[in-house]
């Protein structure tokens, strides 16, 4: 009798406790789990957004394998990621090293370098678009960049930066790096500040040069942080696309499209929801794979 009453009390207690999680669980199930499963389900179908579903098995996936434009867009994202990994992260590391010492205005630099990352991609894209404007008015360059190039004696460098297929993607990658380097900077700076300064002192006493100290102390100590920054850079850069939408809009599609814009085109432009879902699945698998490999690398680095 008593045992049953206690069981009833516990059950009721469990139920009330469960109510605490319920709102989060419902939102998560409806807006995360269901769309995720539905996306996988739809990827095996031909569907135009309305009307009947046609099961077509793996045909969407087969089509992706042979879709030159899809792999082209993947290569574009890879190119942007490569520039972000090298140029952007090198800059972030250099700035972090420069700030990791007794230096005046350190707080000012820290404040300023993180302003671009808090701006939206639309604001940065439209601002960049205006500064890179290729037009001429009364013989004057409208865009600030072309104007500066012209007036500082490099008229041969004046270019239609976003309209020229040779420069469009690189220009986007540089604007993306401008917006993003503050992230790496802050994370690397915090990492540098955890290194015991006595290590450098000891190395100096032993007669090691600044370069040697950098190679044998700074780099090994920083490897875990560097890998985290690299993972975040890869995930962030592969998925960049609002910036591209706001910078080039409809122009130069085949030179600046990335997987995310291509998925958007498949869905909205061509009304092929099933195909768009298959692309999203493939893209997700690739990203998870890459971050898994990077995680493995960072575990391996931590062990040695």
């Amino acid at each position: 009798m008593l045992a049953r009453a206690r069981a009833a009390v516990v059950a009721q207690g469990n139920l009330t406790s469960f109510l605490f999680v319920l709102p989060a669980l419902v939102i998560f199930a409806v807006f995360y789990v269901y769309p995720f499963l539905n996306m996988v389900f739809l990827s095996f179908h031909e569907w135009r957004g309305i009307g009947p579903l046609h099961f077509i098995g793996l045909q969407n996936y087969q089509e992706i394998v042979g879709d030159r434009l899809w792999w082209n867009s993947m290569a574009h994202a890879g190119y942007i990621t490569l520039i972000a990994l090298t140029f952007q992260n090198a800059l972030a590391f250099g700035l972090a090293l420069a700030c990791d010492r007794e230096i005046r205005m350190k707080r000012f630099y820290r404040l300023v370098f993180f302003i671009p990352p808090v701006l939206s991609e639309v604001v940065v894209g439209l601002m960049g678009n205006w500064i890179l404007n290729p037009g001429l008015q009364n013989g004057q360059h409208i865009g600030l960049l072309n104007h500066l190039l012209y007036s500082s004696g490099f008229p041969q460098l004046v270019n239609n930066w976003l309209g020229d297929p040779r420069t469009a993607l690189t220009t986007i990658a540089i604007v993306h790096s401008w917006k993003g380097f503050g992230w790496g900077f802050i994370m690397l700076l915090v990492g540098l500040q955890t290194i015991d300064k006595q290590l450098y002192e000891a190395a100096r006493v032993d007669g090691a040069s600044a370069w040697k100290a950098f190679v044998h102390i700074t780099v090994p100590m920083m490897l875990p942080v560097i890998l985290v920054v690299m993972i975040l850079t890869i995930l962030g850069s592969m998925q960049v696309f609002v910036l591209i939408l706001s910078m080039v809009n409809e122009g130069l599609v085949n030179h600046t499209d990335v997987p995310a814009t291509y998925i958007l085109t498949s869905m909205i432009g061509n009304g092929r929801f099933g195909y768009a879902c298959a692309q999203a699945v493939i893209f997700g698998v690739i990203l998870v794979g890459v971050s898994f490999i990077m995680k493995r690398m960072s575990d391996w680095v931590k062990r040695i």
């Binding site: 409806v30 205005m105 008015q137």
Partner: protein, 281 residues
């Protein structure tokens, strides 16, 4: 002589460092200055006048943007979405995090690790599935639909952050509150929430930035102009026939300034989270 050499070396080194840092700082600030500067120009001068301080100043662009450009409406919508998402998020996430940290119920661990996994797995192109879902639920072109979607975006990260924070609050405080007659809800409201204020500040700041800056879901889910937030409004304005650049720059300034101000005020909190590496936007 030798000492002088070292001092000289140190001086050149620090000068070079400052030149490097200052030039990067300048490239960060100058485009923003240029945007604000162009917001104070006229349609005739904006293409040709390249002086740092324009020769003809025009203060009317902001009023034009606010009324004729519809940016007043867009701005208000952005405020509504940001406030709605952030308050909903804090409420829902803190209830769940409190349960994960303090209460017992079947399936607790499983549900919790599901949220952790959700944070680790990138879902690119999830917008396709969300559009399908919102169509099914008839939530396209509703404020509630967009707000719910955006609550979901920040949910896993907020629950994780709050749970680690709640775990650090001593259990003695719960017991004291219980003796005073508090139930579970009472402990959550009177003990856990007030003590978690730093974590809540982080969640509020971060998610405000995310919602304020969000573009793609706003585009796919809200096609009626009365419902559009600022980021979407900017693209609509830019896409419409011949762009009025000074007014566009005024609109951009309106979208950027609140974010920069919030960042400046809350810088300490933001840097703290970034440094922990727990969040990736």
């Amino acid at each position: 002589m030798k000492i002088n050499k070292y001092i000289l070396l140190g001086l050149t080194q620090s000068t070079l460092t400052h030149i490097f840092l200052l030039s990067v700082a300048l490239t960060c600030l100058f485009p923003i200055f240029w945007m604000v500067r162009c917001a104070f120009m006229t349609n005739e001068t904006v293409f040709v006048d390249k002086a740092l301080i324009p020769h003809v100043l025009n203060f009317g662009n902001f009023a034009v943007a606010w009324t004729k450009g519809n940016f007043g409406m867009y701005f208000l919508n952005s405020v509504i979405y940001t406030a709605g998402v952030v308050s909903g998020l804090v409420l829902i996430a803190s209830l769940a995090a409190f349960a994960f940290s303090r209460l017992k119920f079947p399936g607790k661990d499983f549900i919790f690790y599901m949220f952790v996994a959700a944070m680790m797995i990138p879902l690119p192109g999830s917008f396709v599935a969300l559009v399908v879902l919102m169509n099914k639920l008839h939530l396209i072109n509703t404020r509630a639909g967009y707000i719910l979607c955006m609550i979901n975006v920040g949910l896993a990260m907020s629950i994780l952050l709050l749970k680690t924070f709640f775990d650090r609050i001593p259990r003695d405080l719960d017991d004291a509150a219980r003796i005073d007659g508090c139930g579970r809800l009472g402990i959550w409201w009177h003990v856990a929430l007030p003590l978690a204020r730093p974590a809540i500040a982080v969640i509020v700041v971060f998610n405000s930035l995310i919602v304020w800056n969000e573009y793609i879901l706003a585009t796919l889910l809200l096609s009626e102009p009365q419902l559009m937030p600022l980021q979407r409004g900017l693209m609509v304005f830019q896409g419409a026939n011949s762009t009025d650049y000074p007014v566009l720059m005024a609109g951009l300034t309106m979208a950027a300034l609140p974010v920069i101000l919030i960042y400046m005020v809350m810088q300490k909190h933001i840097v703290k989270v970034l440094a922990s590496g727990e969040v990736a936007v």
